[in-house]
């Protein structure tokens, strides 16, 4: 490490330009550590108190062949001095660690955007793997961008001269060099990164120091070389006052489940089986045993939900977590759960489908599976989270409904929410809902025979009588049950009656959930209706449309079944309903069927969040069409 480079923590000397918002994307080989780099840059950005949103994007393979196009891994971060809603349509800054990364990402860079390329990686072999005939560094490919050609790998190795590490190991620190350079460029605080590196490599301090050195070298390179004429600063965002932290959707969801256990006073049980992008919920929950949380990694998805249903029978707050292909396997057991009327949270972190589809990409195409994917008339409530941090509250709401109505509940998240990060105001624990009132295990009432299907008249819920309770011994099962007694019944009228009771119970929840709130221009003609993770992009697009002076209203559904009580009334107010979805029109279908409104879909099934620009244009076109 050369002594002549100033420490990054010293005040850097270049002129500083203020920006209100920046989108930056790190792209490189799966082996280049781009996810780590992006995540760390995100943390530094949180330290800088910007608002932010991230979009990790990586291949389904653990590590595809080095340098290949399918092997490219990317991490996009949007940060700003105001509240933002999406990870950004297109990067303003692209860091491309190799030719394949350049090839697959350049098209997204805004015109005139900033491009940093690692020239060391532009070898003949790598160019070939990226299907470049000639080097894009030498031809006109990069015209129209602000290009910084940096020999990142060799500079990293150079900076680590004094370290007694194999060259390969030194080269691996090149992502920290890039991180240092970007940290300089956007005036990110550095102390956190250094601490983080020390903690991460606490077992190999040499490696920790090497990475810190690479990081500092990157910073210093930015600071000292001529090619970077100035640096940028994005002032802290003016978020509502409170204590903030950074959170991803899977983490928030896990915390929501733990919180629901605490709030209901019940032990929490998760039966799961790993599947992308849901596994992290299983991982996270298994860390928190001291919250009275039990996790079972079962032999498959069916056993996972089976164990959860067994735990629910035994009196736990139980959940199972999976993604679409896993839900496909759980539907028979969900049917059993709704037939025996026990509380159960079924979490689907959606990914690209059909079939195995695109395991690491986002999509919201499992709504109708949640709604109708079972044999028989088998209604279940459905709740969807809107943002990473909202996964926390959505989980608590799912638990509330499951417990109160003794029913399986679908909780929908997706790959974008799961892995995307945002600043999150840490909730005041005392402000969270008390769920103990929803539990009330049945207790023997002297002399009277226990009736396992005698419903609570206000909720339609049946008693939850758990093993271990003397006098309430009873049997449940998936055959049709006689009303009240719960005995097996093949009686035609009873079956009709029970079918209608099950339906009415779920429909009745509409009275117990918040009404739709319209974000909007009262006199708009067009209502944009969304659900799930499109919350950010839709809000952003609507903002854009409003900036053009047009009027537009917006609602976002957290409850998909039943719909809030005022849904019909809200929909009737507008001449046109536009429903943007990352599927071929699933909420559209439900709205059309239930309310006979001519909902128009905006359907992009690209495995990525919407770009707000395109969505804004679509909304604009609708507004213009209706008003003309």
């Amino acid at each position: 490490m050369s002594d002549t480079l100033p420490s990054p923590t010293e005040q850097a000397q270049k002129p500083v330009e203020r920006l209100d918002t920046v989108t930056i994307r790190f792209a490189g080989d799966s082996g280049d550590g781009m996810q780590l780099t992006g995540t760390r840059f995100t943390s530094a950005t949180a330290d800088a108190h910007n608002d932010l949103a991230t979009l990790p994007d990586f291949p389904a393979e653990i590590r595809a062949p080095a340098g290949s196009l399918p092997g490219v891994s990317g991490f996009q971060l949007h940060f700003a001095d105001h509240d933002i809603l999406t990870p950004g349509d297109a990067p303003d800054v692209l860091v491309a660690m190799n030719p394949a990364a350049l090839k697959t990402n350049l098209g997204d860079l805004v015109s005139g955007g900033t491009l940093i390329v690692n020239t060391d990686a532009f070898t003949r072999g790598n160019l070939k793997k990226a299907a470049y005939e000639t080097s894009p560094l030498d031809d006109s490919t990069l015209e129209g961008y602000r290009v910084f050609q940096v020999p990142i790998t060799s500079m990293t190795v150079g900076a680590l001269d004094s370290f007694d590490l194999p060259k390969k190991e030194k080269q691996r620190s090149k992502n920290m060099f890039a991180l240092g350079l970007m940290s300089f460029m956007f005036s990110r605080p550095t102390q956190g990164t250094e601490e983080w590196l020390r903690a991460k490599f606490s077992k190999t301090p040499e490696v920790a120091e090497a990475n810190i050195a690479a990081f500092q070298a990157g910073w210093s390179f930015g600071e000292t070389t001529e090619i970077f004429s100035h640096r940028y600063e994005v002032p802290p965002a003016k978020l509502p006052p409170g204590i903030y932290r950074q959170i991803t959707g899977n983490l928030a969801l896990s915390y929501g489940l733990i919180a629901a256990g605490e709030l209901s006073g019940l032990p929490f049980f998760l039966g799961g089986y790993p599947i992308t992008p849901a596994s992290d919920v299983l991982h996270e929950l298994s860390k928190h045993k001291h919250f009275n949380v039990k996790t079972v990694q079962a032999e498959d998805e069916i056993a996972g939900i089976g164990a959860s249903l067994g735990a629910a029978f035994a009196g736990n707050l139980a959940a199972t977590v999976t993604s679409g292909p896993g839900v496909a396997l759980k539907t028979e057991t969900i049917g059993l759960a709704l037939s025996v009327e026990l509380p159960l949270i079924v979490i689907n972190v959606q990914r690209g489908g059909p079939s195995t589809g695109l395991p690491t990409k986002t999509e919201q195409s499992d709504l109708l599976q949640a709604m109708y994917g079972r044999n028989g008339d088998s209604p279940v409530p459905i709740i969807a989270a809107a943002t990473p941090g909202d996964c926390f509250y959505a989980a608590i709401e799912a638990a509330r409904i499951a417990l109160k109505y003794r029913t399986p509940v679908f909780l929908l998240s997706d790959g974008y929410l799961a892995n995307g990060a945002e600043p999150w105001m840490v909730p005041d624990v005392n402000s969270l809902p008390d769920l103990t009132g929803t539990v009330q295990f049945a207790a023997p009432s002297n002399g009277q025979e226990f009736m396992p299907f005698q419903r609570d008249p206000s909720t339609g819920a049946r008693p939850w009588a758990i093993p271990g309770t003397p006098g309430l011994e009873h049997r449940i099962g998936g055959l049709e049950k006689e009303d009240v007694s719960g005995n097996i019944s093949y009686d035609p009228d009873n079956h009709h009656h029970m079918t209608m009771l099950r339906q009415a119970k779920i429909q009745g929840i509409a009275a117990d959930i918040p009404q739709l709130v319209v974000d909007g221009d009262d006199d708009a003609d067009v209502l944009v209706a969304g659900w799930g993770s499109t919350y950010g992009p839709i809000r952003q697009a609507v903002r854009k449309v409003r900036k053009t002076g047009r009027k537009v209203a917006r609602v976002h559904f957290r409850h998909l079944n039943p719909f809030p009580a005022n849904t019909e009334e809200v929909l009737q107010r507008y001449q046109r309903i536009v429903v943007p979805e990352m599927n071929t029109g699933q909420l559209s279908l439900l709205l059309r069927a239930q309310f006979l409104v001519d909902a128009r879909g905006y359907n992009q099934v690209r495995g990525l969040p919407f770009t707000t620009q395109e969505l804004a244009s679509d909304i604009t076109a609708h507004i213009d069409e209706v008003s003309s």
């Binding site: 108190h49 039990k294 067994g310 099962g477």
Partner: protein, 345 residues
Amino acid sequence: MTTITEAGGPELPQYTKKDFTSDQEVRWCPGCGDYAILANVQSMMPDLGARREDVVFVSGIGCSSRFPYYMDTYGFHSIHGRAPAIATGVATANPDLKVFVITGDGDGLSIGGNHLIHALRRNANLTIILFNNQIYGLTKGQYSPTSEVGKITKSTPFGSLDHPFNPVSVALGAEASFVARSIDTERDHLREMIEAAAAHEGASFIEVYQNCNIFNDGAFEVVKDQPEENQIRLVHGEQIRFGADGEKALLMSAKGAMSIVAAADHDDDELMVHDAHREDPTLAFALSRVALSPTSPTPIGIFRQINRPVYDDQVQAQLDADVAQRGEGDLATLLAGKETWEVTT
């Protein structure tokens, strides 16, 4: 039932069979072997050493799986093949419960084979009783994974082709810590097996030969009708002898196979003494191969019974240890995490 202690002491009520008999009409065919097993289990229950409210019967789907309805305990008649998974959840959520699984050769070995073998290796505290009638009863007579090759059934009018499972071999291959076999009509033996299985800590597995008199009548008649000649009773620590005068015995060959010999032809110490407690399951496995199907002398009794950590207890222990080490979780601390910042107005 009458309670033998005053007002709610911790002692067990003195139950009778009737306390474990539900008010539901039993809906099996007259003559079905399931009746005998039910009566046996009901009359064994008062001696189980558990409170009635702590007993849970979980089953799948099949004639046999109707069992829980007839027990006046907690019961869950679930879906086809999934009982071991559901029961694992019950036991893991509350390790104080006494959880039984009732399944059939179709339910437990066809659709539910995977849950069964995983339950056995995982070793949660479950007592699994598999009613093997070598047929699908409830769906009116198709061959099952334990049916003999060449079986003519509704779905195999030209004779079945698949080689059957030997349930005891399957269980042993799946690391089961307790494996036994009995017969519906052998009242005392069956009771002894169920008692031992219920007392075993961890997952126990009993295959019960059960006659389906409607679709597979007489499948076990060789073993039932000539008990002395065809039931090889395994008793831990005792020589394995059978025949009217105990004149036959088992001998292990050099390569592990068992052969039936005349006891008189061999020195006493050559003859096999049963050892169910061996860590190594090979002996038990060898015994399971003495009869591939119950059409010749067939071992019944406990093949294997070893101690192994119990899954649900261990899950609880990890939880308790974590509480002991970190204290009960504090939600506010968890939510705040390590890195926060404050935004002020």
